[in-house]
Structures are given as structure tokens and as C-alpha cells.
């Protein structure tokens, strides 16, 4: 065997890993510029637990972290504790676990695809088989996936959950040969479910399909498999038990109840009209309309318009000018789908891809947000596998062109797309999207030491939870914060959703600024965004601008002002 043939897959995998690592780690603490409040909440709560064992609300080692009026899955915050121990609390350290698991997902996907493809087709890895490059292509496409990179560069729990979902799937297929692999599979799946709620639907559904598909194999060696399966189930149950115990609480259900399209309270389903009478009742049946909305949302996750053109509608999510996938991948997606439906040999692979493809959009489609790439993140795997299959499969059946030519075309596409993405992430994203990333709060905190320490500071919170950004960037002592503020008792932690409007951070008060009492009557500093404190209001209330913090596009993001009350 030629040297190049022997080591080429390893070299290409390493290259995919390097490219993936570059896009996930380069300027991680700087781009996206600013910090989203959910990221700040994950980071500060981890910091608080690290320092005191309690979260910002004074709850000892929470099963779910209270985050404003909802709850965050705990895995990310607990993973952050060792990171904070070594690297301190910063934007970089908060995003590090996501980037780390994002990069690890690349070789993991390679191993998983290899695992699924090898036993299915005898001799598939022989030097003449074109499908031997399939796992590599999949790994490379994941490495340059705008969708996956987006969530790897920001602190979102969904990315960790996806890694453990893949890891669990890999172990699960290994377990068909060696039963003790059921144990790490179960552990990975439980971590995945605890890391992000969408996986609470996806993992069981995946397991049901797995059991149905491999029922014959599982029953045939039932005695040998029984002990590992039982131990895995019991262990998983024990680990998941604390989460199960709080699943019925208002806190756990708050987000899903508010977002669910099937909820009878709150926003009515899409297309519902006001009116009375039998015809109206028939037309506006809640369940029918909710089902129609669910189907419309579900089909959007599989629609090329959303995948290759629109992308996510969220303000922080799509990179400027890019969809979820590259446009040139669209024909590959169609080709891949066609060949995968027709495929007769790779049955395990086919089952896995179609199962994940059809299951992954369900949790996201149950909520109102259109094409939420966050809630449907596991979908990136089957869609990338289909696209990769669409590239590799025709190579096997098309007339033989020069291998070098084929490689050159793919390499050119990868390089072209990588540069395009580089431009979009590092030149455009901060310019166009900085206002959605709470840009400027770090500068505000840096400016505080220059202010008169005798004067109180009032930070406006009328347009978001700015207190968490202040806590994060100040690295405010968690023990002190817990003493100064009370929002909910430990016993009501998961049940009461009441919130306090005012937060105290020493001489800093975070609350909605009240015009008059706050602006005209007391001598103090005010910190507010450009909407809260316009030029007209500054003049009207005789405020002095101490500092203006501009967005990258030059418009004012935040202002630090000083009041000038008239002497009484």
C-alpha cells in the first residue's frame, strides 16, 4: 500500500480537526463581541457555586439552575467550575466547554460513521472503495458547518448535549457486539438529557427505534445482555432521578408551557380567528390549528429554504449572509437523500440517519419559534450525513474521473466556503449583530473605578437582565450578592417564579430608572442604553455624559451619565 493511501485518511481527519478547532477557538472570547445574558447566567452561577457551593439565589448545588424566570440545564454550569478554577471567569472561559465539545464532536462523528458503515458493507474500507472517504467527508463538513460552529462559539448547553448524544449512539452500536458498552451509552444519554431539554424527547425516541430495529439481536443473546442492560438502566435512573423529581414543578415547566403551541393558555395557534358559531368553532378548533402549526414548523426544519437560504430567524444566530448550510450543499442534499432511500447495504446507517432526521425537529417544532436551530441542533448530524453521502455515493457510481480532480474540486469548495465563513464570522457578525450580544457592558465595568466612589450608581434594567452582566464582569463576590439580595427561598426555588425588580451590588443598584426621582432628585451615576437615555432626555434632565460606549458600527450602545440635581 502506498504511503499516501495508508496515511491519507489520518492526515485528512487531522486536517478536519484543525480546521474545526480554528473556527471554534480563534478569537473565542472576542467574537461574538459582548455576552448574551444566558451565557452570563451560566458563567456567574458556575462561579457562584465554585466560590460558595450556592448559586446566585442561594440554592445549594441545584438540579436545574434558575435563570431569570426560567431554568437552565445544569451540565454546562457544572462543567464550567473546573474551567473557572484554572482560567478565572471570562467570556473565553464561559464559551470554552462549548468550543471544546464542538471540536471533539468532529472526530466523534468520524468514528461513529465508520462504526456504522464498516460492518454493513464488507470490504468497504478496501483501497478501491470510494465510501472509505465517507466518514472523513462527514467530519470535514461538520468542521466547517456554520450551524455547528455558531453553537460551538457561544455558551449554549445544546452543543454539549449533542456531543453526548453522539457519544451515546457510538457506544450503543458498540454494545451490540460487547454488551458492557450499554453502560457508557446509558451514561452518555443521561448526561445528554440533563444537558439540554430537547434531548429528553430525542433520546427516548431514538432508543425506542433502536430497540425495535435490533430486537432480534437483543433477544438472541438476552441472557448475556441482561445484566449490563439492567445495571445501565438502574444507574441511569439514579442519575436522572433528581431531574425527574423536579419535572412536575412550575419552574421546570415554565419555559415549555410558555412556548408550547399546544398550550391552551397564552398565544393562540397560527391562523386562529375571533368569532362565534358552529362554523367558526370547526374552523378554529384549537387542537387542529395547533397540529397544523406543528406540521408547518416541523416541515420547515426539513425545507431547503430554511437550510440553505433563510437560516435561523433569531437575532444572534445566523452569520450575516449565510444559511444553516452552504448553498452548494443543496444538490448534494437531494442526491444524498435519493441514494440513501435507495441504499440497500447500509441499513444501520440508513436507520440511524432517518430516525434522527425525523425525531430531531420534534422538540423544536413543539415551540412557536420558527426554525430554531438551537432546539433542533441534533438535526445537524443527519443532514450533514445526507450531504456527505450525496458527495461520496455518486463517486462510486459515476464514470471514473481523475481522483486528483475530484479531490481538487472538493478541496476548492471547502476552502472557498471556509474563507466565506471566516469573513462572515470575523468581519460581519460583530458589525451587524453586536446589539444582540449586549455589547458594551464589559467597558462599563472597566469604567466604574474611574467614577466617584462616594456616589451611587443606578444601572437601568428596563430592557433586559443587565444585573447578570454586571455581576459577571465585576466578578462580584457571590457570598456578598447572596446576602444583599433575596428573591426566593430554597424551598420555593423550583416552584415560585416571582422575581425582584431591584438588585443590589454594593453601591450599584440595578433597576428600571424612574424619570424624575432617579434623574433629577439625587446626585448619582446612571448607566443605560441608547434607547433609555436619548439626547433629548439628557438635555431635558440636565444630565452630564461621562462616557459613551459605541457599537462597532459607531452608534451609541451604552451611556454613563451623572445627574445634576438642582439645589433645594
Amino acid at each position: 500500500m502506498k504511503f499516501s493511501n495508508k496515511y491519507l485518511p489520518v492526515i485528512l481527519l487531522f486536517l478536519a480537526f484543525l480546521v474545526g478547532a480554528f473556527f471554534r477557538f480563534y478569537k473565542l472570547g472576542e467574537t461574538p463581541v459582548g455576552l448574551y445574558v444566558d451565557e452570563a447566567s451560566l458563567g456567574y452561577n458556575a462561579y457562584s457555586v465554585y466560590k460558595t457551593g450556592l448559586d446566585e439565589y442561594g440554592k445549594w448545588l441545584p438540579v436545574m439552575f434558575r435563570s431569570f424566570s426560567t431554568f437552565q440545564s445544569p451540565i454546562y454550569s457544572y462543567l464550567l467550575i473546573p474551567v473557572i478554577h484554572f482560567l478565572d471567569l471570562s467570556i473565553f472561559s464561559v464559551r470554552l466547554p462549548s468550543a471544546f465539545f464542538g471540536v471533539l464532536s468532529i472526530p466523534l462523528l468520524y468514528l461513529f460513521v465508520k462504526q456504522l458503515v464498516i460492518p454493513a458493507k464488507a470490504g468497504i474500507y478496501s483501497s478501491d472503495s470510494k465510501l472509505k472517504y465517507f466518514p472523513l467527508v462527514a467530519a470535514m463538513f461538520l468542521a466547517i458547518s456554520p450551524w455547528h460552529i455558531n453553537y460551538s462559539r457561544t455558551a449554549y448547553e445544546a452543543n454539549i448535549a449533542l456531543f453526548f448524544l453522539l457519544l451515546g449512539s457510538l457506544f450503543l452500536f458498540h454494545a451490540l457486539k460487547r454488551s458492557w458498552f450499554f453502560l457508557p451509552a446509558a451514561l452518555s444519554f443521561v448526561i445528554s438529557m440533563m444537558a439540554y431539554r430537547a434531548e429528553i424527547i430525542i433520546v427516548p425516541a431514538l432508543l425506542v427505534v433502536f430497540v425495535l430495529r435490533y430486537s432480534g439481536a437483543l433477544i438472541s443473546e438476552f441472557k448475556q445482555r441482561l445484566t449490563p442492560i439492567l445495571i445501565s438502566l438502574v444507574l441511569s435512573f439514579i442519575i436522572f432521578l433528581p431531574t425527574l423529581q423536579i419535572m412536575g414543578t412550575p419552574g421546570f415547566r415554565a419555559r415549555s408551557s410558555a412556548l408550547s403551541i399546544f398550550a391552551t393558555s397564552g398565544q393562540r395557534p397560527w391562523g386562529a380567528n375571533e368569532g362565534k358559531g358552529l362554523v367558526h368553532e370547526l374552523q378554529n378548533n384549537h387542537q387542529v390549528l395547533a397540529t397544523r402549526e406543528f406540521l408547518s414548523l416541523y416541515s420547515s426544519y426539513l425545507s431547503p429554504r430554511y437550510m440553505f437560504s433563510l437560516g435561523d430567524s433569531g437575532p444572534r444566530l445566523p452569520y450575516a449572509g449565510m444559511g444553516t448550510f452552504f448553498v452548494w450543499q443543496f444538490p448534494l442534499y437531494l442526491i444524498g437523500l435519493y441514494f440513501l432511500i435507495k441504499e440497500r447495504d447500509l441499513i444501520d446507517f440508513k436507520y440511524f440517519v432517518f430516525t434522527l432526521l425525523l425525531i430531531s425537529p420534534i422538540p423544536a417544532a413543539l415551540t412557536r419559534d420558527p426554525y430554531s436551530t438551537l432546539r433542533s441542533l441534533p438535526l445537524v448530524v443527519p443532514q450533514i450525513l445526507i450531504i456527505s453521502f450525496g458527495l461520496v455515493k455518486p463517486w462510486e457510481i459515476l464514470p471514473a474521473f481523475s481522483s486528483k480532480l475530484k479531490f481538487s474540486v472538493v478541496a476548492l469548495l471547502v476552502i472557498f466556503s471556509s474563507v466565506r465563513m471566516f469573513i462572515s464570522i470575523f468581519y460581519f457578525n460583530d458589525y451587524f449583530n453586536s446589539k444582540f450580544w449586549n455589547y458594551g457592558w464589559e467597558t462599563v465595568v472597566k469604567e466604574i473605578p474611574n467614577l466617584n466612589p462616594q456616589l451611587p450608581i443606578v444601572v437601568d434594567s428596563s430592557r433586559g437582565d443587565s444585573y447578570i452582566l454586571m455581576l459577571f464582569f465585576l466578578k462580584y463576590d457571590p457570598a456578598l450578592y447572596q446576602r444583599e439580595n433575596f428573591e426566593v427561598s430554597a424551598s420555593d426555588y423550583y416552584t415560585s417564579l416571582t422575581r425582584s425588580d431591584t438588585k443590589k451590588l454594593g453601591n450599584i443598584t440595578v433597576k428600571s430608572i424612574v424619570w424624575g426621582p432617579d434623574t433629577d432628585e439625587a446626585e448619582q451615576y446612571l448607566v443605560a442604553d441608547y434607547l433609555a437615555m436619548s439626547e433629548v432626555q439628557i438635555d431635558a434632565h440636565n444630565l452630564t455624559i461621562i462616557k459613551e460606549i459605541p457599537f462597532p458600527d459607531g452608534k451609541v450602545a451604552l451611556r454613563i451619565l451623572k445627574t445634576n440635581p438642582k439645589p433645594k
Partner: protein, 271 residues
């Protein structure tokens, strides 16, 4: 019973889009209805094996210049069946028509100047430090490319036909309910089985010609009625397939499809 269910399902699929269109549109919509009827005429001629049926496509740019590229694209799919002399006549007529249509087509097309998009593009170019890189990745063709891409994917979006473009409706668009949403089942089946259908050549050629020609128009709204026949026929292919399955399957389908489609029909009539 089976025939009755099939007929009612077919009628529901075929009347939905035109009815929805007429109820939502104003007087200027007659042109688009006639354009869809032109395709119906072509279809009938095609079924009768009339060899020069494709000449009907030339009526479309006369109805509305924005359809200028339909006959250009559609003929590409028929070129193997066409005699040389016919092709020459077809081309000459087309060139003649385009002399009158070009200006109006340009006004409706994605090539018409868009100052807002141009400003955004200039801003993007200015953000890239390397001029050559900027020229390669973000140049004037971006505006047309983005619009063309957006139009193509809108035409390929199943939500466009079955869910009125929900959840991402288009501003300044009727966002029409084109087909009852349960019709997505026969449509997807129809797409899959289209390759085995004897209608595949006509459906695929008109569908692709329609999609590509209206992709060149700035706002596809109403112009997309040209896709009515190929889309509905694709549903019909699927519907036929469903009714060849076992009784339980087509009864289950009818049990879901008929009441929901009738409710959907009532919604477009009464709202």
C-alpha cells in the same frame, strides 16, 4: 366508495389554489389565471400527442412580460423532440416577443436596481480589509444571486404550498393558502413516485421551467400561479398511488384528508 373518495380528494386538491387565489386577489389577477390556463391547454395538447404543443408557451410572455424566460427554459426540456425548423420558428418568434417584453421584464426582474441592497453590500465590502478578497466574495452579483437563491428556495419550500409560507411569511406577499395542508401527504408521495409516472416529463419540465422563470422576478407573488398545474398534478400522482394501496390505508388517508381539507376550504371561503 373508493372512486368517490378519490374523486372528492382530487376535486379538493384541484379547486383549492384557484379558489384561494380568486378570493384573495384583485381584478389584475386575470392575467395570472390565464397564464395557468395556458399551461392547461398545453397539457391537453401534450396528452393528445400534438407535436407542436410547446408553441403555447410563447403566449405567456405576451400575457405578461415577466414570464419571458418560461418559454426559453421550457423548450430546453423538449429539445430532443423538436424538429430543427420548428425550433428556428420558435426562436424567431421568441426573439420577436422579447424585443417588446424586455423593458417590462427588466422592471419586474431581480436585475432592477435595489439601492438598499447596494448600500448593505457596500458596507460589507468596506468591512473586509483585503480588497481582492472583498471583490471575490462580495461583489455586485451578490444582490442578484441572493434574490435568485431566495426565490428558488421559496418555490422549493413545501411550506409555501401547504402552510402559506408559515412560519416565515414574506412581507408584501399574499402568503396564500395554496393547498390544504393534509395534501402534503400525496404531494410527497407524488414526488417520490413521479419518476415512475408516465406524466413525469411534462410535470417535471413545466415545474422546473416555472420555478426558474419566476425566480428571475423580484416578487413572485401571483406569478407563482403558473406552478398550480404541475404541483397539483404531482399531488394527483401521489393520490393515485395512495388509492392503489390496501383499503385500510386509503380509508385512513381519506379519514384524515377529507374533513381537514374541507375545514381548510371553509377557512379560505369564510375568512
Amino acid at each position: 366508495m373508493k372512486n368517490l373518495l378519490f374523486c372528492v380528494s382530487t376535486i379538493l386538491i384541484f379547486i383549492f389554489w384557484p379558489l384561494s387565489f380568486i378570493l384573495a386577489s384583485r381584478a389584475d389577477s386575470v392575467t395570472f389565471i390565464i397564464a395557468a390556463l395556458v399551461l392547461l391547454v398545453d397539457r391537453l395538447l401534450y396528452l393528445r400527442n400534438y407535436p407542436y404543443h410547446y408553441f403555447t408557451f410563447l403566449v405567456l410572455p405576451l400575457l405578461h412580460p415577466a414570464y419571458l424566460f418560461f418559454p426559453v427554459i421550457a423548450i430546453l426540456f423538449h429539445r430532443s423532440d423538436i424538429k430543427k425548423i420548428s425550433l428556428v420558428i420558435y426562436t424567431v418568434i421568441l426573439i420577436f416577443i422579447s424585443l417588446f417584453s424586455w423593458k417590462t421584464f427588466y422592471a419586474y426582474s431581480i436585475f432592477t436596481p435595489d439601492p438598499l441592497a447596494f448600500d448593505t453590500l457596500n458596507k460589507k465590502i468596506s468591512l473586509i480589509p483585503n480588497r481582492n478578497l472583498a471583490r471575490l466574495y462580495h461583489n455586485k452579483t451578490d444582490i442578484f444571486q441572493d434574490k435568485f437563491k431566495s426565490n428558488i428556495f421559496t418555490s422549493l419550500d413545501t411550506n409555501n404550498y401547504f402552510f402559506a409560507l408559515h412560519p416565515r411569511e414574506i412581507f408584501e406577499n399574499q402568503n396564500l393558502h395554496k393547498l390544504p395542508f393534509p395534501a402534503i401527504i400525496p404531494f410527497l408521495m407524488g414526488l417520490y413516485f413521479l419518476i415512475k409516472s408516465k406524466d413525469r416529463a411534462w410535470i417535471a419540465s413545466t415545474l422546473l421551467a416555472g420555478i426558474f422563470s419566476i425566480a428571475l422576478i423580484n416578487n413572485q407573488d401571483k406569478f407563482d400561479l403558473i406552478l398550480y398545474l404541475p404541483i397539483s398534478l404531482t399531488c394527483l400522482v401521489g393520490l393515485k398511488k395512495i388509492f392503489t394501496l390496501r383499503q385500510a390505508y386509503y380509508l385512513l388517508f381519506s379519514f384524515i384528508f377529507l374533513p381537514l381539507s374541507i375545514i381548510e376550504l371553509a377557512r379560505i371561503i369564510f375568512n
